[in-house]
């Protein structure tokens, strides 16, 4: 696992607290917290930007938590900007109607001392650390402003890291956390899925494709419109080249008017022949998997090698 990936993993470890997952604490879920936004940018009282990884809100407690995960160093300027966030910024600018909020920093143990040094005495943010077996609010720094939240973080929360979730938040627009090779993997799985599921003539816009196969779980709606556009822009170039090079017998790309200005306006159309709905021919599925293997070999995450052994044993081919 790369150090960059660890950042997305840290977000997921915290996100897990907002779900009722077996083998992972449900501390925030019990308090009614739900993830409401990912990388949602707004301005503080002084007009400075903040962009927490997650905004979680509990209607039950009428409270929000802005999460900033740090797998590396803490930025002094960023700390200052978060300290200038006021309640009306959350309500009026970020559009979450709550009576109170906290900004909390979540770090790995290796970053703890630096985080402690920068936050203690200077800022009011509770600091949480993920250790080898605990999620722990650092007791001698700051408390959560809501008593119920603080109560549940008063004692360290035991965790078994083997069970930490990694895919609740499957995508990050941060290139380091989610490199292009992973986007390629997601595109290939998505195209294969689409070709099996959809009928000939089906038109799917790039936007829908990204929502369904890359960002997933409708989480695209969690992002600001500007970020949605960036995600589309990031994915579409890769997608276009993959479709043109590897899927020309199956898919056609149609560019709509105005695509030069708003490049998410192109569609992928399934054009290959299939007897009825989807790729009901086993031979066709086998061919799709072969193509997927070729793309990954050329462009994708080389760690993903399952296809290499799968084709020899592909029993589906017993037509």
């Amino acid at each position: 696992m790369t150090s960059e990936e660890k950042h997305l993993d840290l977000i997921n470890a915290f996100a897990g607290l907002c779900f009722d997952l077996p083998k992972w604490p449900n501390t925030l879920y019990k308090l009614g917290f739900k993830i409401k936004a990912i990388e949602w940018q707004f301005t503080n009282t002084n007009g400075g930007f903040v962009k927490p990884e997650l905004i979680i809100v509990s209607q039950k407690l009428n409270h929000a938590i802005l999460l900033e995960c740090k797998s590396g160093t803490l930025d002094d300027d960023q700390l200052k900007r978060y300290s200038d966030v006021a309640l009306d910024d959350i309500v009026v600018k970020a559009n979450f109607t709550v009576a109170g909020f906290d900004v909390t920093f979540f770090v790995y143990e290796v970053s703890l001392e630096e985080a402690r040094r920068k936050i203690a005495g200077s800022f009011k943010f509770p600091l949480i650390v993920l250790t080898g077996d605990k999620i722990e609010r650092i007791a001698d720094i700051n408390k959560f402003s809501h008593g119920d939240v603080d109560q549940d973080f008063r004692n360290p929360i035991d965790v078994d890291l083997r069970y930490r979730p990694y895919n609740l938040i499957p995508f990050s627009n941060d290139k380091k956390s989610f490199p292009d090779s992973k986007v390629v993997n997601a595109i290939v799985v998505g195209l294969t899925s689409m070709l099996i599921t959809e009928t000939v003539g089906t038109v799917i816009g790039v936007l829908n494709f990204v929502q369904k196969y890359i960002v997933k779980n409708n989480l695209f709606d969690c992002f600001l419109v500007a970020d949605q556009k960036k995600i589309i822009e990031r994915c579409q170039g890769l997608m276009r080249s993959i479709v043109k090079k590897y899927y020309k017998n199956y898919l056609t790309i149609m560019i709509k008017d105005g695509a030069e200005i708003n490049p998410n306006k192109y569609d992928i159309i399934k054009t290959c022949h299939s007897e009825n709905e989807g790729a009901d021919s086993l031979k066709e599925k086998k061919q799709l998997i072969r193509i997927a293997g070729n793309v990954i070999q050329d462009m994708g995450d080389k760690a993903s090698v399952a296809y290499q052994t799968s084709l020899d044993e592909f029993l589906l081919s017993s037509e």
Binding site: M1, C18, F19, D20, L21, P22, K23, K34, I35, K36, I56, V57, R162, Y163, P165, Y166, N167, L168, P170, N185, A186, V188, V189, G190, T192, S193, L195, I196, T197, K212, Y213, K216, N217, N218, L219, D221, C222, N276, E277, G278, A279, D280, L282, K285, I289, A292, I296, G300, D301, A303, S304, V305, A306, Y307, T309, S310, E313, F314, L315, L316
Partner: protein
């Protein structure tokens, strides 16, 4: 009467029921006289199939009928939900009263049924079998008097390269056991407690008997593939059991889809719950990669294909596709559990398929850890 003649003759549900009554009565008489029959020969067999159709639209069933037409089946509409089909001495009836969980009845030879239904499932993408895992079969066995059970374990079906028996600390790669006893439930418990068969002890089929009146009863062999072989003396009683199982199964699949798929909405935030399946014994490091590659190679019976990213020696994330329906899904797999992330609109039947086949071919002791889901896998039945 020949099957073709029956196909031509039957005009309504009552006639179909009476025809099945006659079949069941004659086979019952034969069985009473201890004339053992060739497996499945002449017995009425019913199957529950899942036609992926969460909104229960008529269109999906019409497409399936078109598929059967293209495969040269003669088709007769008995009423708006019930159709009969005939080709080359193979006769079957589809009751699409629930257009998602189809009931298929056939008096034809078991081999004809198996071959044709296998063909349908392989070639028509939205159609799948229903998969009754061990806990579900055991729970549903309370619907009648539990008479016997069968356990068939076969690790070689999915683990060609890997030494799964070594992983499971088993002496067997295959195991077949059938117990008929005055108290089969107790025997089941005793064998489990003895741990003699360790993780190679799934329930593959059960036989239950339900008395409806002094002289009306149903005796059913029910296997993990959603097949019901009727040995009673009355179709009404047989169909009572089939529909009872079908409803429990339907509830299970819909609970998976509604409560366990992940979805974000602005109103409700991010909700759902990944499903965790725990393995009883840790997969040893030397087998981990081989086993995962076998599971995600796109082969029967899992029908899962995926890109495996081995993040650690004993931990992988798999971006997978259910090749049956084409739906994408994500797995996290370690040496002692798998966590499954479902998206909205993914077919819940793939979870029952995965669980049942893990039990039958990997380890019979795999266990779902989500409390809410465990309850639906163990329905209280009256």
């Amino acid at each position: 009467m020949e099957n073709k003649e029956i196909f031509d003759t039957i005009k309504d549900r009552q006639e179909m029921g009476q025809y099945f009554d006659r079949i069941m009565d004659s086979t019952y008489a034969a069985l009473r006289e201890q004339q053992e029959q060739e497996f499945g020969e002449n017995l009425l067999k019913s199957y529950i199939f899942e036609l992926h159709n969460p909104k229960r639209e008529a269109q999906r069933f019409i497409k399936f009928i078109d598929f059967l037409k293209r495969n040269l089946f003669e088709i007769k509409e008995i009423d708006k939900d019930l159709l009969s089909f005939y080709k080359d001495d193979f006769l079957f009836f589809i009751d699409a009263y629930d257009p998602r969980f189809l009931l298929i009845h056939s008096p034809s030879k078991a081999t004809l049924c198996n071959d044709n239904f296998d063909f349908f499932v392989k070639r028509f993408p939205s159609l799948d079998r229903t998969w009754f895992n061990t806990s579900l079969l055991e729970s549903l066995s309370y619907y009648g008097e539990f008479e016997s059970w069968k356990s068939v374990y076969n690790s070689k079906k999915i683990h060609k390269e890997s030494d799964i028996s070594a992983y499971n600390n088993l002496e067997w790669e295959e195991l077949s056991l059938q117990i008929k006893s005055r108290n089969p439930r107790q025997k089941l418990q005793q064998i489990r407690e003895s741990n003699i068969f360790k993780n190679a002890f799934p329930i593959t089929s059960i036989r239950i008997k339900k008395d409806y009146s002094e002289d009306a009863f149903a005796r059913e062999d029910i296997n993990f593939l959603g097949k019901f072989t009727a040995r009673g003396n009355n179709f009404v009683n047989h169909i009572d059991i089939v529909t009872r199982f079908s409803k429990s199964y339907s509830k299970l699949v819909e609970t998976i889809e509604n409560d366990f798929s992940l979805h974000f909405s602005k109103e409700n935030g991010y909700y759902g719950e990944p499903i965790i399946i725990e393995f009883p014994t840790k997969i040893q490091l030397e087998y981990f990669k081989i086993i995962l590659k076998a599971w995600f190679s796109g082969t029967q019976p899992f029908l899962l294909w995926g890109l495996i990213d081995f993040k650690l020696n004993d931990y992988a994330v798999v971006e997978a596709i259910d090749l049956h329906m084409g739906h994408p899904l994500t797995f996290e797999i370690s040496s002692d559990f798998m966590r499954i992330y479902l998206q909205k609109d993914v077919c819940g039947n793939l979870i029952t398929r995965l669980l049942a086949n893990l039990e039958q071919h990997f380890s019979s002791s795999v266990r779902i850890l989500n409390d809410k889901l465990t309850k639906v896998f163990n329905p209280q039945i009256e």
